[in-house]
């Protein structure tokens, strides 16, 4: 009983600073500036916002390119790092995670300084580079853990039954690692389009993604900022539910196919 009571301070704190904030987002999203209930007004205003179309287009381009590049680079790295011949001590995987802990603004500013020194034109390309730089570890981590958990006897079984190593990789390892790929994608796409400041720094303020847009909107229209935030939270919730479902299937032993 005493131990259970210890949960109360944290529960109260989370009620005030995690749950209440989310409720407030919903309240602001569905009311107008005077506080009167207005279920669609803010979303209508968003639809009429001339800048938003371009922001969404940029976000889709940047988000998808970042996801694809991170996957193409991250998957092979995660795969080979699970193999002892490349990562005997486990230090290598650590090296891929360390940059995550270095202030991202610092990494972006030094990237910008390097680009400046190399005389590279700032634009969508440099933004995507920065986003990949920031989010690659988030792709590698879940894929690495999922591949590590795959029962090695399944791959041995496939090769014993006559599959070539390449075929065993595509038919066994890849399908079984998809839950990791899926959580990697969730951890890259939404955070990359909602980061704020990366775009500004690496495009010299020429481009804007959703994160920058929400930040600017916050200064003059909290209701519209809340409405976008609300949509983002719903999207995130849906992707978490999908990811959890696949991960559950995985725990039961079944793959995706």
């Amino acid at each position: 009983m005493f131990k259970k009571l210890l949960a109360t301070p944290y529960a109260l704190f989370m009620l005030l600073f995690v749950l209440l904030p989310i409720v407030m987002i919903a309240v602001y999203a569905f009311t107008d500036a005077e506080g009167a209930i207005d279920l669609i007004g803010n979303f209508k205003d968003l639809a009429n916002e001339p800048a938003l179309g371009k922001v969404i287009k940029n976000s889709i381009i940047a988000g998808l390119s970042t996801a694809v590049i991170c996957l193409l680079i991250g998957y092979p790295i995660a795969y080979y790092l699970t193999k002892a011949e490349f990562n005997r001590t486990g230090v290598l995987i650590g090296l891929f995670l360390v940059p995550m802990w270095v202030n991202f603004l610092l990494r972006m500013m030094s990237t910008k300084a390097v680009f400046n020194a190399l005389d590279i034109e700032m634009g969508m390309g440099t933004v995507i580079f920065g986003l990949c730089y920031e989010f690659l570890p988030f792709m590698i981590m879940p894929i690495y853990t999922t591949i590590q958990k795959i029962d090695k006897s399944l791959i041995e079984g496939a090769t014993d039954l006559g599959a070539t190593p390449t075929k065993a990789f595509w038919k066994v390892t890849v399908p079984l690692s998809l839950p990791g790929v899926l959580s990697g994608l969730t951890m890259v796409v939404i955070p990359s389009i909602t980061t704020f400041a990366v775009t500004e720094i690496l495009s010299n303020g020429k481009l804007m993604l959703l994160g920058d847009f929400i930040y600017q909107l916050k200064a003059y229209n909290l209701n519209m900022a809340s409405a976008i935030s609300f949509v983002l939270m719903v999207l995130l919730g849906i992707s978490m539910i999908i990811t959890n479902r696949f991960n559950k299937d995985d725990a039961k032993g079944g793959g995706l196919w």
């Binding site: 005493f2 749950l19 904030p21 602001y28 909290l222 809340s226």
Partner: protein, 275 residues
């Protein structure tokens, strides 16, 4: 054999690109050029400027360090106390549903977009400001607000670091202490806390690192309160984004963060080796 070399080369190239900007900055912290374009001879001048307070950004750097450390230390303390208590309570829950609700709420700040978390917190602070009328001016009030905001984001990580320790520890020792006449509070301090202390320490370091690293929540929620992150952001539009004394400062910070991460990761490795 060829495949092995190719894979090694691939991993190596990605690592080089990943570390290039950081290494480049550290290298250029030993020369006092305004930009990264040319090398002006090796010197410790930037570090001397930094420590003697004669650099071009010295006043701002000092203010930012004080503010960041103050918020970081108190965020870490508050997060550690709340997160540890929360973990002990969560571990003691019998009801599966209660457990599920508690851990789901704990996950929200970790998965939500930072900008959304930041705006949501700003709305709550607005609400508080209008109902209990706290003015938004003084340094102390701003710091307090920021500590609360950071804690809501850092405490969940403390909880997740303490929980595995609790799951490994033996509840019978705590019960034995109660049987032998300890009050629950005394048993908690004498038996449970020493047992989960490694998890608590790692959680505290993690909370501190997350707090000093935070930019989005800070930027959205407070104005005219310089932290290391907002200081960096303020330099973004200059032609030379990382001036000499800033390079020296962040090279030192990189070193400290590197050591802290090694501390965080090493006890995990040891426990893995045991099991």
């Amino acid at each position: 054999m060829v495949r092995k070399i190719l894979v090694r080369a691939f991993i190596g190239i990605v690592l080089i690109i990943l570390y290039l900007p950081i290494v480049w900055m550290i290298v250029f912290s030993f020369t006092d050029t305004p930009s990264f374009e040319y090398w002006n001879g090796f010197s410790f001048q930037n570090y001397i400027d930094l420590f003697s307070g004669t650099g071009s950004n010295s006043a701002r750097i000092q203010e930012a360090i004080v503010n960041t450390l103050f918020v970081g230390v108190f965020t870490s303390l508050l997060s550690t106390v709340l997160g540890t208590l929360g973990a002990i309570g969560l571990h003691a829950f019998r009801s599966k549903r209660l457990k599920a609700v508690y851990s789901t709420v704990n996950q929200i700040p970790m998965i939500n977009s930072e900008i959304v978390t930041a705006i949501a917190l700003a709305l709550v602070f607005n609400l508080f400001a209008s109902t209990i009328t706290i003015s938004n001016g003084t340094w102390g009030e701003t710091a307090f607000k920021l500590i609360l905001a950071h804690t809501s984001y850092c405490a969940p990580y403390v909880l997740l670091n303490v929980l595995p320790r609790l799951q490994k520890s033996d509840n019978k020792i705590y019960e034995a202490a109660l049987d032998l006449g300890c009050t629950p509070a005394k048993a908690m301090f004498k038996v449970v806390l020493p047992d989960i202390l490694p998890g608590i320490i790692v959680g505290a370091i993690l909370a501190f690192t997350l707090s000093i690293d935070d930019f989005v929540i800070t930027k959205v929620n407070v104005t005219s309160f310089e932290t290391l992150s907002t200081l960096l952001y303020g330099l973004k539009s200059g032609k030379h984004p990382l001036p000499p004394d800033i390079r020296a400062l962040f090279s030192i910070i990189f070193f400290i963060v590197f050591v802290l991460i090694m501390i965080i990761y090493s006890p995990k490795k040891k426990s893995e080796q045991k099991s």
